[in-house]
Symmetry: C2
Subunit: 255 residues, 2 copies
Amino acid sequence: MSKIIAIANQKGGVGKTTTAINLADTLGILEKKVLLIDLDPQANATSGVGLVPLDIKYSSLSFFTNTFKPKYNIVKPDSAHFDFIPSNIRLASIEVNKSKSIDLFKLKRALANIIENYEYILIDCSPSFGLLTLNALTASHSVIIPVQCEFYALEGLNKLLRTIKSIKKTSNPNIDIEGLLITMYDSRTNISNQLREELIKHFESMVFNTVIQRNITLSEAPSYGLSIIKYNPNCIGSENYLNLGLELIKKNTNE
Amino acid sequence: MSKIIAIANQKGGVGKTTTAINLADTLGILEKKVLLIDLDPQANATSGVGLVPLDIKYSSLSFFTNTFKPKYNIVKPDSAHFDFIPSNIRLASIEVNKSKSIDLFKLKRALANIIENYEYILIDCSPSFGLLTLNALTASHSVIIPVQCEFYALEGLNKLLRTIKSIKKTSNPNIDIEGLLITMYDSRTNISNQLREELIKHFESMVFNTVIQRNITLSEAPSYGLSIIKYNPNCIGSENYLNLGLELIKKNTNE
Ligand SMILES: Nc1ncnc2c1ncn2[C@@H]1O[C@H](COP(=O)(O)OP(=O)(O)OP(=O)(O)O)[C@@H](O)[C@H]1O
Ligand SMILES: Nc1ncnc2c1ncn2[C@@H]1O[C@H](COP(=O)(O)OP(=O)(O)OP(=O)(O)O)[C@@H](O)[C@H]1O
Ligand SMILES: [Mg+2]
Ligand SMILES: [Mg+2]
């Protein structure tokens, strides 16, 4: 069983990269073979695992220039429990070059060669609906949508769900919502609780049971190039992401 | 004296919209004539002042379709101390339509007719370097850059500063950095304090003295369509944004 999952939400700063790195790591710890792809020109996942984006020779740009070679493009960051394909700012050239022939299937085709080597392939997306994210949604079996329980974050959710629906009708009939993941949750505040209830009322079983709580340790770990479990296995962030890994595996084993 | 200021940072979720609405409001309370423009297709500023983006007939799209008419485009939201030009998702059509003739001066030309009616014109930008943000940077006298004291947020800062430098060489020789504004600051955590010191060491006087602290009340106010001062004048968020207004006025009075 091999599953490609995009981690996407056009709203910025909602925890996509933090989820991508830490979910990849916990799935690896739970003995799954995992590949994480950084498909964001900001390359936050790349610096979050301790690499320097400007030093990267072989990046995810290779998917779009037909030069992808697994032995050059796939690296294993120190202390990570997953394989990784880094990114850098040169990837942004894909977004601006809106030549007439937009090919939404480039990534899907390139991944076809390596998909059977992994049980999970996670794709960290940029905060936009550009060509890169549309390629990720076209290549994926499902999407994890990190959502903050905040007013602006919920406003943009319908736009994202409409985009996924239109991808389902056009370039990827198989795409599903893996789940909405509540992130940066602060149970001490009313607004978080109210909006969480609204989310569950509205989306029911599409919402992961696991909630990622606001935990400053999660924002410290990337500055050391470490996953949360490597940085501090006893913090609430580690517990939350381990539970998320378990929930995801269980959900996909029963299917 | 009339000043156009873009509020920009391609990193998502750093407090651009929160700063745009609340700084516009405090400048208005401090007796300045202010216009706020929502130039983000996500239209968070529009919903944050209590309007419904889908209901908007005349949006900031008018700047780009040569149909801008102040009496239709400029509204005064209830309880706000500033004039406002709303946005909606149709503005996104500007970003995707990368026809050959990219005109970076559209917004600048359109604003020329109304600039003398205001002392400050603030522009809330989207989290990207697309045509909309480049138009805003071309039209502006200066840029306020909201920055979180977090690892990923500081990574992207150099890219933003390089972009502003290249705008200064090409389409807008007058653009300056108004200041780096530290947002969502949590003085109880080490990482915030460390990164703040690094920021001040690196950028010195470019960093506003006023620091916006993390304050849940700031994220509650937009769900009522209110500025922070209207929603809860006694919270730390109100104090921070009032101080920011005072600091901005003082800085621009001496110049
Ligand atoms: N649960 C959490 N608790 C506290 N801080 C968090 C949490 N999750 C993420 N963060 C921090 O919040 C910021 C935004 O998270 P992150 O960069 O993962 O979001 P993103 O959606 O990938 O952003 P972008 O849209 O720019 O790609 C980062 O500085 C990160 O360290
Ligand atoms: N000082 C603060 N304390 C607590 N929450 C805040 C603060 N400033 C902003 N927020 C909340 O953080 C989230 C991100 O802020 P905001 O939407 O203003 O950022 P942005 O940079 O405009 O995002 P985008 O890149 O999507 O346009 C919002 O839910 C907002 O309510
Ligand atoms: Mg990210
Ligand atoms: Mg915004």
